[in-house]
Every structure is written in structure tokens, then in C-alpha cells.
Amino acid sequence: MRIAWNTVLWAFLLIVAFLTLFPIIITLLGSFKTNAELTAGATFLPAIWQFTNYIEAWKQANFSTYTLNSVFVAVASTIGTLIVSSMAAYVVNRMDFIGKKLYVSIQAFTMFVAIGAVVLRPQFELMIKLHLHNTLWGVILILISTHASAFFILLSFMNGIPKELDEAARIDGCSPGRTFWRIIIPLLTPGLGVCALFAFRGAWNEYLIPFVFTLSKPELQTLTVGLANLKYGITAASQTHFMMAGACLSILPILIAYIFANKSFMQMTAGSLKG
């Protein structure tokens, strides 16, 4: 009875694990196959490992441009998010001023109200007026503007930093700005790390915003956008191997970070909302 139960349990777990990993493995292995082998299907391991796929995808299918754009967007919006949200969290946690409640409720409001494509349109029009629609800065600014969750995470971390430190610094003649950079920021590092990971993951994986901003500017496409657009290309059928290599280029950095940081990542993500 017990053996039968255990067999069923493990069969179930292994099937779930297999189905979960299957598309990822297919992608990794597929990225080393020739296009003909891919579209003929039915081989699991590549007949001959085509390491040149990546070099060709990098050059021919423009993945060098896409990757650099992705790195630029992800890094810039991560840094921006950290600066903007840590400064806001600092004053909201430490200072008393008129309009504090209003600020916090606006932040909470923006987290819950999202009407998707509709807000994207006026954001796009705004960027045209600011002459930022032909650069990736428009995308970066919009990504930074969704910093409410980072703000709330940092606010809770800020609670754990004793206020006595601020007072001691003030008695020593340290200005609040200096206290922030010299004392608070170093102590806030764990919280900043969490937010950086979330912001980077979000920006790296974002599809719609960069897609809309690069509709007429293919040279600004990020990895997710460039990859999805290969699907619509007239020659898409003959480029499956590039699609697989591109998918790997976009998955691998996040996957490696995840594998190395798995334990803390799992704990942190228990509070994040996606799905």
C-alpha cells in the first residue's frame, strides 16, 4: 500500500517536473540544431551540435542589437527604479511633511489600477511630445514610473534600520541628504538587492512597452520584441533555429541568476505577484 502510494506520488511529481522543463529543454537543445532538423522534428538531441547558430543569430538575425538594447533598458531602468524609490522610501519613512498620506495612497492606487494598452497610448503620445519616442529612454522612463512595488518593499526594509542612527548623524552635523547616501543606502543594500532583481527581471522580460515604441524603429527592438517579430517575418518558417537561439539568449541570463540565487529568490518571490 505504502509502496503503491509512493509510486503514484513520485510518478505525478516527475511528470509535472518533466512537463515544466520540457519547453525549456526543447529550446536549449533546439538552439543547437540545424533548421532542417528542427522543422523535421522528432530528434531529441541535435544530430550534430550547431554551435555556429549563436554566431549567425548574433550577426544575421540582429541579436547583437537586440541584446545590447535589452541590457541598456534593463540596467538603466533598474538603476532609475532604485534611486527614485529609495529616495521616496527614505523621506516617507523618516520625515514628517504635508502630503505624505496622499503620496502613499497614490502609489498604492497605481499598483492596482492598470488598464493595459490604454495607458500605453497616452504615454506614447507624451514621449512624442518630449521627442523621446525615437529612443529607448521613453521605454526606460515608463518602466521607472512603475516603481510602486519597489517603494513599498524598500519602505518595509527601511523600518528595520534604527532611527537612532539618523539622530546620531544629525547631532554630528550631518545633513539629511548626506545621511541618506552615507548611512541609509549602505544599510539598505539587502532591500536594494531584492528590488534590483525584480526591476531587472521585469524590464528584461517586458514585451509590450518596447514593442509599441519600436513599431517604426526596428533597430531599437529588445530581445523579447525582436524575437517575437521573427515569428511574423515572411521567412519565419526558415528561421526556427534563430528563434531558438534568440530565446536562449534571452532566457539564459535570468536562468543562471535564478539557479545561483535560487534559495533567496524563492523567499523573495513569495511576496511578488505574477502569473
Partner: protein, 300 residues
């Protein structure tokens, strides 16, 4: 430090966040609220039309089709992913070998971009030269290619892909909820002769109530709003079979994928009205669920 100086400092630190939130968060919502009442195609002057846009929404068959598609999609996704996530969380909360590895594997899809995975799933499910069909054909498991993204199966396929991407996340949230159930409740019930199934039914489920209520609510909102992967995989097709509410809204604001931006006339005014109705529908369902599920959060 005096009060004025303190105030000036606080505002200066808050300014970047305030500006970004107001300009890129609040203003766009107001923009949509305003154009709801206008006939505006993105160029020329906007013409005030009152409630005409809202009236048009009420009789727009394409929109109501997309609403029913959304319900099918969200319902399917929830019915498959929530029970599966709960079962996995309960099992992986037991002290079994390799549970950390299994948790890590099942959570993995949630860290990957939905758009990227949609591309991969497209190459897998593609009827013409998809990997799955080629595989099934080679091993004679099917007689002829199945049109996974065709009229009959497209909805099922996108639901399965959505479940693949969501189970890990809900599992993790359930696991977090399970950690709060004290171990000795299980121990004493085991002494009383309760088996694992009875423990699940009479301890886990009731004690998980409040967490479950929250997780299902999040799942409902997410399922009603999700359209990124659908956009990449089927773009709402074939013949509108997988067109969901938010994808319909998107198409009123931006040209379809693969076409050039300049050739398409967009309907900003009407789109805003559709978005408003969509938001109201999501809101009503959330509130209905919240009150309907109140019993869940009471531990009797």
C-alpha cells in the same frame, strides 16, 4: 533642522517619484477617462459625442465575443492551475527528498518572459511544422497533423501555456500560506488516527482559507488581464477565437503586429470606452468574488 528646511528637503527627495507617477501613471488614466466621451481617431480634433461610445460598446458583438472568450480562458486557467498548484504545494511541504529542487523547477517558468515562451510554444504547437506534431507523427501517435492553434484547439492550447506559466507562482504563494499552519496540529491529528487525506480536508483547506481567498482573487485578476502571450501566439485568431478583452482593447489603440504603424486608423475614443467597460467588468467580478468567498476567510 527647522520645519521649512525639512519640508523642502522631503519634497525634493519625493519629486522624481511624484513627477513620474503623476505624468506616466495618473495622467494616462485621466486621458482615457476623458476620451471615452469623444470621437477621436488620433489625428484632427476630437469631437464630443457624450455617451455614444458607451452605447456602441453595448452592441459591439466583437467585444462581447472577446468577453466570453476571456471567461473561457480565465475559467480554464483557474480550474487547472489553482488545484494543481495547491496539490503541489501540499506535497512539496512534506519532508520528502528533493523537494527544494522540485520547487525550483516548478517555479522556473515564472521567471521567463511570457512573450519569449509564447514564441517557443508557437514553434512547438505550430500545425505546419511544429515540433509536437512532427514528433507525434513520427511515432505514429496521430494519423495527421493536429491544428493546435486552429479553430478547435487554439483556446485549449493557450490555456495550457498559461497554466504552465502560472502554476509555480501560485504554488509558491500556497507554500507561504502552508508555513503558517502549526506543525503540532498535524501531529495531534495523526495521533487521533487521521490520514493524509483527512488532514488535507479538515485541517489544511480550512486553515488555508484566508490565503486561498487572496490567491484566487489575484489569479482571477491576472487571468482576466493577461493577453501578452496570446498576442504573440495567436494574435487573437483564428477568426477571433482567442481574442480576449484586453487584446481587443489593445488593437483599438495600436496597429496589429507585423503591419506598419502608419497604415492603420486607430480608435482612441471608442477604445477608451471599451477599456472602461472592461475595467468595470474586472472590478465587478473581483467584488462579487470577494463577497462570495467571504466564508473562506472565516476559520470555524
Amino acid at each position: 533642522m527647522n520645519k521649512a528646511k525639512n519640508l523642502a528637503f522631503s519634497y525634493s527627495f519625493l519629486l522624481p517619484s511624484y513627477i513620474l507617477t503623476i505624468v506616466l501613471g495618473i495622467y494616462p488614466i485621466m486621458w482615457a477617462m476623458r476620451y471615452m466621451f469623444y470621437d477621436y481617431k488620433g489625428f484632427g480634433t476630437a469631437r464630443f459625442v457624450g455617451l455614444a461610445n458607451l452605447e456602441r460598446v453595448m452592441t459591439d458583438h466583437q467585444f462581447w465575443d472577446s468577453v466570453s472568450n476571456t471567461f473561457v480562458y480565465a475559467g480554464g486557467k483557474l480550474l487547472l492551475s489553482i488545484p494543481l498548484a495547491l496539490i503541489l504545494a501540499v506535497i512539496l511541504n512534506w519532508k520528502i527528498k528533493g523537494r527544494n529542487l522540485l520547487r525550483a523547477i516548478i517555479f522556473m517558468p515564472t521567471i521567463i518572459s511570457t512573450a519569449v515562451m509564447a514564441v517557443v510554444f508557437f514553434t512547438i504547437f505550430n500545425s505546419y511544422n511544429g515540433i509536437l506534431n512532427q514528433f507525434l507523427l513520427k511515432y505514429k501517435l496521430i494519423g495527421s497533423a493536429i491544428d493546435w492553434l486552429g479553430v478547435d484547439y487554439a483556446m485549449l492550447t493557450i490555456i495550457l501555456v498559461a497554466v504552465w506559466g502560472a502554476v509555480g507562482n501560485y504554488m509558491l504563494l500556497f507554500l507561504a500560506g502552508l508555513q503558517n499552519i502549526p506543525e503540532d496540529v498535524y501531529e495531534s491529528s495523526a495521533l487521533d488516527g487521521a490520514n493524509k487525506f483527512q488532514q488535507f480536508r479538515y485541517i489544511t483547506i480550512p486553515m488555508l482559507g484566508p490565503v486561498m481567498q487572496m490567491i484566487i482573487m489575484l489569479a482571477i485578476i491576472n487571468a482576466l488581464k493577461g493577453y501578452e502571450s496570446i498576442m504573440v501566439m495567436t494574435d487573437g485568431g483564428p477568426i477571433g477565437k482567442t481574442n480576449v478583452m484586453f487584446l481587443y482593447v489593445y488593437k483599438l489603440f495600436f496597429p496589429p503586429a507585423g503591419s506598419t504603424a502608419s497604415t492603420q486608423i486607430q480608435e482612441f475614443g471608442y477604445g477608451s470606452a471599451v477599456a472602461f467597460v472592461t475595467a468595470v467588468i474586472v472590478g465587478i467580478i473581483t467584488i462579487l468574488y470577494f463577497y462570495g468567498s467571504k466564508r473562506m476567510s472565516h476559520n470555524e
